[in-house]
């Protein structure tokens, strides 16, 4: 594993009890409507609660209309800019497999990929203008640029939690299950609680927990 803290011992903590990191880069990718931005908002809000320096940016472009969406969250004391420098991504949370591939050039060899296996095939494919890669090919390519892939069907798990709309939160849970995010588990859950009205919060906490467990199982 690549050391999380380049200049500080791993054991240092912030006032809130979170681990101090120099730089931890999260890339969240998907297509319009999948809730990419919500993941980054929750991560950012939680980081602030934990006293961690946070920067990021997103490109929606014309994403509402079905285009790709990429959001960036950067955590740590050494982070200035809104973009992840090429090759410095630590974790890719991909809500769509081909979008995972599209963004894989940002990854570092020690990075992790949290992969939702459910595909969203763009209309150009039935139109015959482009093709969608086979899942094996996607996994093989991602394996070459990352240290670990944790794949799951987030929609199915979300349905189990109570709503297919919570697939993004399942993915967030799985990302935490991978064990490197410097934000405390309690804090991200607080951020989820604070974001949703009570009934939806319960579903989303469940979605988070199921995603978390799924990726823990994966680890063993």
């Amino acid at each position: 594993m690549r050391p999380l803290c380049l200049h500080l011992p791993v054991s240092r903590h912030t006032k809130g009890g979170a681990r101090i990191v120099a730089e931890y880069n999260v890339l969240i990718a998907g297509v319009g409507g999948q809730g990419v931005i919500l993941i980054s908002e929750l991560l950012g809000n939680a980081a602030v609660r934990d006293g961690i320096n946070v920067r990021g940016s997103e490109v929606l472009g014309m994403a509402v209309r079905g285009g790709p969406v990429v959001s960036i969250i950067r955590l740590g004391s050494d982070v200035y800019g809104p973009l992840i420098p090429a090759g410095k991504g630590d974790i890719l949370i991909a809500l769509e497999p081909s979008e995972a591939l599209r963004n894989s050039t940002h990854l570092s060899p020690s990075s992790k990929v949290i992969l939702n296996t459910e595909t969203t095939v763009p209309f150009t494919v039935p139109l015959g203008e482009s093709t969608y890669p086979a899942m094996d090919e996607i996994i093989a390519r991602l394996n070459k640029v990352s240290s670990e892939i944790i794949s799951l069907n987030a929609r199915e798990i979300a349905v189990e939690a109570g709503s297919s709309l919570s697939a993004n939160i399942v993915m967030l849970g799985a990302a935490f299950g991978a064990g490197q995010l410097p934000i405390k588990l309690d804090t991200i859950k607080e951020a989820i609680q604070a974001h949703f009205p009570a009934k939806l919060a319960t579903i989303n906490i469940k979605a988070f927990d199921l995603g978390y467990q799924q990726s823990r199982v994966h680890h063993q």
Binding site: R55, G61, M62, R65, Y80, P82, T124, V125, L127, E129
Partner: protein
């Protein structure tokens, strides 16, 4: 504990904000009392944020009909002694240009800030454009933040400076600031609320030729005073390093990338660094100090070599011998990044690159052909798709009569509907800027012998379509002008406009109908159609195209996203469609090929409708030669 929001008066607290929220927060802290804008990515959330707290904080906020009006509304408030903000995207500044140029002659009374968001790489724009040139032309000082947090600081500074120097100020954002996110420490909110007072002073406020001659020297004088002051402005900052051979002048956001690049290269402390927060006017003393201290200088900035040219002028004017680099090493196209700065600095310092960028590029090139194209597209059930389909059919029917190969020409405009220039619809032949569809249609009508059909959205019509419509009547252009009325400014996030019947703060107001305006302008053929009644819509459009004179068709159907939202709220069910597999041969694919609707797709050789995407518009029914598309879900 009450949740913190962007309107909370909680100095010292930290909040995770979008750049545009931080910009709005800065205006709030500065005590802005009037704010006006026309939407445009990446600037829209500024006014949305202010609209959200308008009532709570006593701020007048409006979505204006266009950027020129927005600027004038804000400027009027400044002239009346209030702090005022106008915000817009870069191309919006072109629309406001005329007003902005003379406003700097008039100067400001209450602090006047013009926020312009540039869009390097044109993520959501028709062009890349560097607004600092416009500022230079108009003697507008520019503040340019290096981060989201500094954007908030600089908004507060801009209001203060504008008032101090009685001059309007521009703040330049870019996409990665406006749509950047960061933790931001909140400052105190000014509670001052001023009463508007217009002190009459025609000699200074009425711009006749003599007024211009009188005011130009005063304006230049004010600008020169600002120039004296910027050397000590905290947004400008010089770090000279002993023995450094390279100096970097980093403007705005590029400062963040530069800091990261220096760290990545292990060059921290070995390079002198001048952070520029005022690209116009530049802090000349600081620039000279740097130029005299190093033999080699790199200028980093988003978009054009604006600072670079001025730095070169300063070097030349002061006879300083130094090599100045900039856009020779950093691309002129697109946005900057830590990587681009790293590569440029590595070249100038003969340093080793921290990672193998070429390998990353190679990987990217290998991946590209594997990836499915995912262009943005009209949503399933978008009424624009139906309007385009009708227009194309109508155009074809009439064009035939102009000759065997004759084709109707379709000048288009900017909005969601622009996406229909793509296959398979391909119903926009030229798209320039907002409102240009009707203007271009006017011109084409005088030189082409074929039907000319211009089309724009309702928000665009109110923004800048009306003068060209009037022109068609005045100058007898035989054009068909279609207004795609989805009762929304959909592309930029559903901001209200004069046709929606409510204002930025949700107040009810008069609902203006484009057809009434068209009639009032003297158009004799004006009809309103429902694009989902495809046959009727096509027939009316055909008649409009045949009409001997300017004709207007309003194609009206609410945006599906809004419609679906409303239905959900009202508990109304959406009845969707399915494809009867017994009747569909699975091979003809007319529905797919004619419409490109994301809800119609292939599954194991079958053509199917995705029940999670279909919104039940029923347009595909018209395309199926086998009558295989049926209402409801299959039994």
């Amino acid at each position: 504990m009450k949740e913190l929001t962007v309107g909370s008066d909680a100095p010292g607290e930290r909040l995770f904000l979008l750049g545009n929220e931080a910009i709005a927060r800065g205006a709030i802290e500065a005590g802005v009392q009037v704010a006006a804008a026309y939407p445009g990515t990446p600037s829209s959330e500024i006014m949305e944020t202010l609209a959200g707290v308008a009532q709570q904080l006593g701020i007048y906020v409006e979505w204006s009909t266009n950027e020129k009006v927005a600027f004038e509304v804000a400027f009027a408030a400044s002239l009346s002694g209030l702090r005022a903000l106008a915000s817009m995207k870069h191309v919006g500044l072109n629309v406001a240009h005329d007003a902005v140029m003379t406003a700097s002659y008039a100067g400001a009374r209450g602090g006047m800030v013009l926020l312009v968001a540039d869009d390097p790489w044109a993520w959501s724009s028709q062009s890349e454009q560097d607004s600092r040139y416009v500022a230079e032309q108009g003697y507008l000082p520019v503040l340019e933040p290096s981060s989201v947090a500094e954007a908030r600081d600089m908004m507060v500074d801009a209001f203060r400076l504008s008032e101090e120097f009685h001059h309007p100020f521009m703040v330049r954002s870019v996409t990665r600031i406006s749509h950047g996110r960061s933790d931001v420490t909140l400052g105190e909110i000014s509670k001052e609320r001023r009463q508007g007072h217009f002190a009459k002073d025609p000699a200074r406020m009425v711009f006749t030729p003599s007024g211009a001659r009188k005011n130009r020297p005063l304006m230049i004088d004010r600008f020169n005073q600002i120039k004296q002051a910027v050397d000590t402005f905290p947004g400008n900052h010089l770090e000279l390093k002993n023995g450094a051979r390279l100096g970097i002048i980093a403007c705005g956001l590029s400062y963040s990338y530069t800091r990261e690049a220096l760290k990545w290269l292990g060059l921290e402390g070995q390079v002198s660094l001048l952070k520029i927060g005022t690209p116009h006017p530049l802090p000349e003393r600081l620039v000279k100090e740097l130029l005299e201290a190093v033999p080699e200088v790199l200028v980093a900035e988003e978009l054009d070599p604006f600072v670079e040219l001025h730095v070169k002028a300063i070097a030349g004017g002061s006879n300083i011998r130094v090599n100045i680099h900039g856009k020779d090493l950093i691309p002129l196209v697109g946005e900057l990044s830590t990587r681009l700065l790293t590569e440029a600095i590595a070249r100038l310092t003969n340093s080793r690159l921290p990672i193998d960028f070429a390998a990353i590029d190679k990987l990217g090139a290998e991946l590209a052909p594997l990836l499915p194209a995912r262009p943005p597209t009209l949503c399933p059930g978008c009424p624009h798709r139906a309007s385009q389909y009708a227009l194309k059919m109508a155009g074809k029917r009439v064009a035939r009569e102009y000759g065997q190969d004759a084709e109707a020409v379709y000048p288009g405009d900017i909005g969601c509907y622009t996406l229909s220039y793509l296959p398979p619809i391909e119903s926009m032949d030229v798209v320039l800027c907002m409102g240009a569809s009707f203007g271009i249609a006017n011109g084409l009508a005088h030189v082409l012998d074929t039907p000319v059909i211009g089309q724009l959205g309702d928000s665009t019509f109110f923004h800048s379509g009306i003068p060209a419509l009037l022109n068609a009547v005045f100058n007898k252009a035989k054009v068909t002008m279609v207004i795609l009325d989805n009762t929304a400014t959909a592309m930029t996030g559903f901001q209200p406009h004069p046709g929606t019947g409510y204002t930025a703060t949700g107040e009810k107001t008069t609902m203006v109908k484009p057809e009434d305006i068209a009639r009032a302008c003297g158009v004799e053929f004006v009809e309103v159609v429902d694009p989902f009644d495809l046959k009727q819509a096509t027939d009316v459009m055909e008649r409009a195209i045949r009409f001997n004179g300017p004709s207007v068709v309003v194609s009206r159907r609410p945006c599906t996203i809004i419609d679906q939202r409303n239905k959900k709220k009202a508990g109304e069910e959406t009845i969707i469609y399915h494809i009867d597999q017994e009747r569909c041969d699975g091979k003809c694919e007319a529905c797919i090929k004619l419409l490109g609707c994301p809800a119609i797709t292939k599954d194991d050789g079958r053509t199917i409708i995705d029940d999670t995407l279909c919104t039940g518009c029923g347009l595909c029914v018209y395309t199926c030669p086998y009558h295989a598309i049926l209402k409801g879900v299959p039994e």
